[in-house]
Subunit: 199 residues, 2 copies
Amino acid sequence: MSEPSNRGRPRGLSDRVREDVHAAVRRLLVAEGYAAMRLEDVAAAAGVHKSTLYRQWATKAQLVRDVLVAGELEHYPRVDEGSLAADVEALVQGLTRLFRSPTTVAFVQTRATADDPELRAGLHELARQDTAFMRLPFERAIARGELPPDTDVGMLVELLLSPLLARVALTGSPVDDEFSRRLAGTFTALVAPHAAIGP
Amino acid sequence: MSEPSNRGRPRGLSDRVREDVHAAVRRLLVAEGYAAMRLEDVAAAAGVHKSTLYRQWATKAQLVRDVLVAGELEHYPRVDEGSLAADVEALVQGLTRLFRSPTTVAFVQTRATADDPELRAGLHELARQDTAFMRLPFERAIARGELPPDTDVGMLVELLLSPLLARVALTGSPVDDEFSRRLAGTFTALVAPHAAIGP
């Protein structure tokens, strides 16, 4: 594929320009939050004309939703360690790393505080996509006979993810090594009580 | 105890005035949210002079924190059904009722969106108090031998509560009967796999 030119009203953005715009949005969300961020600032930080942004994204909400979808899906941990206990360990470690990054914290807090219906709808869609692949370790565990066939996989995913979301969005309690260890330990003991963990 | 007069700079507020002020704060938090709520509006809604409020609460954050502490602690479910499975069922039913009320939703969203450090500190204190008595069903289960002695009770409480907090503060997913049934069912199956549930 040839990269479209940035001049003369291209249909899409080049990968490089898109990356610059996404990086600018992430920086500004961390620094200022969703409400204060202006498309003018994004354009200036990314070194593009504001009209370039508006050709791709009609509103700030659409731009932020695209960045959130791209950024979050890219960084969510994908694990396949061969057993439910090891998968839960790896999943919690990956999620803890993810929820420690200032970008993710800014994203979660944008979800909690944004009152833009379009953005919220996009974030619900994002949450559904996250859930889809976080189901896999539990579905494999059912296939292996480590969990009963009637396990409510969606609720397990929600139980595992919600403490991280609640700490970052609500309580401000730290997402540190101790929390990661306790969450992994308790969740593993609950879902895989008879499985050996680690060496 | 004699009720102090509302005239002539009383040291404290009468129970009735305090109830009126708390009710006004709850109504205004639901209707307008923390950021938009003004002490003038609280005073007008409660039928007291603004100076009466300022004698008791130096800031809006202090007033809201007091109301949240009083309101939340009063309505959190206290359960003692004789078994871990029955306690979890009752706890989830009580929490679901609590998290469906517009007042609680407004409180949780205030916690998520308030950027006042004093208010946040008060809400952390509140969260610790909540946790303290939600530990009891699990501590009784340890004493009865239904849970291992080294169970991380604090993490169990956080796992049970966080899906409710995340739905209300973040994802906007409904806290409905289906959710309540799924949360109780999955959590009970995890913590009390061998216990009988219900009749």
